[in-house]
Assembly symmetry: C2
Homo-oligomer: 365 residues x 2
């Protein structure tokens, strides 16, 4: 098929989809965007994080474009919206064939399901192999699964700020976020789409918790400390939701911003996929699975990541069958550093592209 | 006054109490327990953590007793329940003079208020000076405030696993907990005590979040990893609250346990006190306040503490006017290590007691 105009959102049908856990999602569509021309084996598949979308040239603006590390003069960068999300790809808020929203009928999807769906999408586009897959956080989990599910289709991989499986701590904090949403009376068991209401308070609460795991605690403290929000007094004689510290206002703003752009059902669906992330499942365990990987893979982490501590990337690196290299982002930003530390990411991504070409062409390095 | 029987819960009236923020709490009572005989200047005042109580010989069993680090053959160990709590000391669930619960009428209290109330309690007992104050977490915050509010009454201090002020990250995660409670429909603005209902779901949710900050992520992962709860399948075709990972069940158990022993209003009150913790307030800033301290103070931290990272104790140590020493607990347990790493705490507390005696008697060390 001919690719759509550069940067333009487009949807591809992949038909009915069977999930890893044995449920059927009928009539699945995958939304995507691309930048740069497709010339055979020059695809860079970029994977977004939890609440991200296919507009990678926006959220990774400093990494993607002409002359940039992911050089769209040389590469065809493709980014799809993940299965279960709400930016065009089929998810809980999508319309079921019966005309109503999927809601609670949308099955649990795993990271593997997202990769299988993306593979079906590439098949539909007639793309048999990509030069590399790259992604951070949930995108890193998908990248890692790509190397294990379809190694023959991936030239190289760059796995950023993620672990080989959900840790118990991650499952705990992620379940707290799911619970914040499902405890919202407007959740209605997941079937709120035609009620005129939505679990916005729950979604905002989930985001506030999540955001504290996305940022380094020193970074947040340097910005806000114990400063009161302007014209508010958090030291008054009675506690008040309207008399806040600046950091409370900031976190509430983060929650509101997400509510305005994201669906609570999709948030639950994708968070559940992260809970189920485990490359060892059905493969003889984590380290056996990692050792079996033959795709040249670069691993990247952040020194101050609370959510995916650096030792988790060290674990991946130590056990991977074909390690292309390892890089550490040094930053007070925490987990989000892969999105915000543009200068460091530029160097890392250029190194990755270089090594991936050397490796594919058999050069020693 | 004569002290009550060793280990027995007793209440002392300190009358009306004016809070730092300018509210009145009438007819305040302080609940306490003591172990060991009072012989002049031999009081060790132990300060409990957020949801702790005055039964220090229970929650610090390996530290307090005959022959133990806090040797009750030598010392009179006294522990009070903090102002705002629910174990005998006046708090939101206590009876207002009008016969109904305080509820939303209970003012915001600060860590300083808790110390002022405790000082009034010691006055009521006729105890003019204590040999030392010791405590971890919220108890560490109270201990630090003791050294600044009443330096002439404190021989030495042991400040464990706390910071000189709330960090923005702490305020964020603590506010998420408060919000989990106040978003519970049963909260009723804080006035649920005569409704026959209580915000138990909210309190449990708060505790689940909090617990993830009390334990090291490696410790939780080593115990639970991605193991499913017995007879449950968290990998089924649909997400279900009844099909859980073991860590979810564990955290829910922690929530339920707290609900069965603690009041949600007290949880909000004490968490708010932690939000307001700032030894620099009104004293020219953090470092000036710390530098002004003349009480010999030992500082203790945990290498894996997520809630009060070790750099916060390093900050206290670097700036304190009279540092008695610094110790690091090395443990995967995280913040709770000061309660669970009995062997290490035993050595630290014995060192503290020794140095406090040397220092008080003027010995060089």
């Amino acid at each position: 098929m001919t690719l759509p105009e550069a940067g333009k959102l487009h949807k591809v049908s992949i038909g009915d989809f069977d999930t890893e856990a044995g449920a059927l999602i009928s009539d699945v569509h995958i939304a995507f965007q691309r930048w740069g021309d497709l010339r055979g084996d020059n695809v860079l598949l970029v994977e977004h994080a939890l609440t991200g979308d296919s507009d990678a040239a926006q959220w990774w603006a400093e990494a993607i474009g002409p002359g940039k590390a992911l050089d769209t003069d040389r590469w065809c960068v493709i980014c799809t919206n993940a299965l279960g999300s709400c930016y065009g790809t089929t998810g809980p808020s999508s319309t079921h064939p019966d005309g109503r929203a999927w809601g609670s009928r949308f099955p649990a999807v795993s990271i593997r399901d997202q990769v299988h769906a993306e593979k079906a999408f590439l098949d539909a586009l007639g793309i048999g192999r990509v030069h590399a897959v790259l992604g951070g956080s949930m995108g890193g989990a998908r990248t890692l699964e790509w190397t294990l599910l379809y190694p023959e289709k991936v030239g190289a991989a760059c796995v950023i700020a993620v672990s080989a499986r959900a840790s118990a701590w991650q499952i705990g904090i992620q379940s707290a976020q799911i619970s914040a949403i499902t405890r919202d009376p407007a959740w209605n068991g997941g079937d709120y789409y035609n009620t005129g209401d939505a679990p916005s308070h729950g979604l905002a609460a989930a985001r506030r918790i999540a955001h504290l795991t996305y940022r380094g605690e020193l970074e947040i403290d340097e910005r806000f400390g114990t400063t009161p929000q302007a014209d508010e007094n958090p030291f008054g004689p009675f506690r008040s939701d309207n008399q806040r510290f600046a950091v409370q206002s900031y976190l509430e703003h983060q929650g509101t911003k997400l509510v305005n752009r994201f669906d609570a059902g999709a948030y639950v669906s994708l968070t559940e996929a992260l809970n189920r992330h485990d490359v060892g499942r059905g493969r003889g365990g984590l380290n056996k699975a990692l050792a079996s990987s033959q795709v040249p893979t670069m691993v990247v982490g952040v020194d101050t990541d609370i959510l995916y501590p650096y030792h988790q990337q060290e674990h991946i690196s130590r056990n991977l069958g074909h390690l292309l290299g390892m890089s550490k982002l040094s930053s007070p930003m925490g987990h989000d550093a892969f999105l915000t530390e543009a200068r460091q990411m530029d160097r890392i991504l250029r190194k990755f592209i270089k090594r991936s070409q050397d490796d594919v062409s058999g050069t020693q390095h």
